[in-house]
Symmetry: C2
């Protein structure tokens, strides 16, 4: 997913953005976020630096777009059954944290966010996008009365995302699909209507 | 708590270590972990650098001791009732993450652990110590049959610690005691014997 969701944008402009962000996203995941500069991305994508500056005037603009582009791939396939959908979404998050450099980028982002408002904004955009489908699934579960009314969606969702981020990004360990199923089952048991 | 738990250590040596680690812990929490150097700590504690090097030969030794000293303060008071004990422990963790610089130190530690085996060892020691009482509480809950047999203690404990670390250290938000109670209640509901 790109951040460019406007209708009616010139197709060439859209292609340029998609091309550049694909390369920026790859750089972010494979080489770490400090490699996502106008110069590096322009060279790797085969566009001029001037073109990149036209689309993303500030370094933060390019970095945020790269994070959002990558983040968009992290959502799991949905089928409408709550447990399966939660496992699919958290499994997609687990894979992106482990297979790619996202875990280290996320920690680096959080580390630098405390001293830069621009970085803090990127962090907030990225985490908001990353958590959006999970929050939606939990909210849908409450509305359909599968999950109990009055549940605090934010803290409940943190228990799933937080477990994975804590174990993989903070503790630096690798976990399997069984781990994802275990936390989703504790979550569902703890939040379901009885 | 200091890392020096040996019996029969000269009381003066023990006092020196306690003095120095108290100061090193304060530096860690108030100024960030990159200030915890032999020179800075020696000056602030009023000991010679030579004395510090005798007790902690490497920079990593001093930093690890400072983290463990600080970590020891993070445990909550225990009364034997599982819900109260879990809330007390997670509330202590919440306070230490919010009130002190521990959240930023933890993220900085995780960030640098991926490129340094020495830092990774400090992180592992520190997180192991930090999570120890929580893991013990969950284990005790299983043995007393309050929590269900077969529960995966590690991933379940991650859901509590992870929620707080994710929200406070990664997202940079402040949460209240109500947040702690909400996650402990989802946790207990999700893990209890029925």
């Amino acid at each position: 997913m790109t951040t460019d969701s406007k209708e009616g944008v010139d197709p060439r402009v859209r292609r340029t953005r998609t091309d550049v962000l694909r390369v920026a996203g790859e750089l972010l995941l494979n080489s770490g976020w400090d490699r996502v500069t106008h110069a590096n991305v322009a060279e790797a994508a085969g566009y001029s630096k001037a073109t990149l500056y036209k689309h993303w005037p500030q370094p933060e603009d390019l970095l945020r777009a790269a994070f959002l582009h990558v983040g968009g791939f992290s959502h799991g396939e949905q089928c409408g059954e709550l447990r399966a959908d939660l496992i699919s979404e958290m499994e997609a998050f687990r894979r992106v944290l482990i297979d790619e450099k996202l875990a280290t980028s996320l920690v680096a982002l959080a580390d630098r966010a405390s001293s830069s408002a621009a970085i803090a904004m990127i962090r907030d955009h990225f985490l908001g996008e990353g958590q959006s489908l999970l929050v939606e699934l939990v909210g849908r579960g409450i509305r359909s009365r599968a999950l109990r009314h009055g549940l605090d969606v934010g803290s409940a969702a943190d228990m799933l995302s937080g477990a994975l981020v804590y174990r993989i990004a903070i503790m630096g360990e690798v976990v399997s699909t069984a781990y994802v199923e275990a936390i989703v089952d504790v979550f569902l048991r703890g939040t379901e209507c009885r």
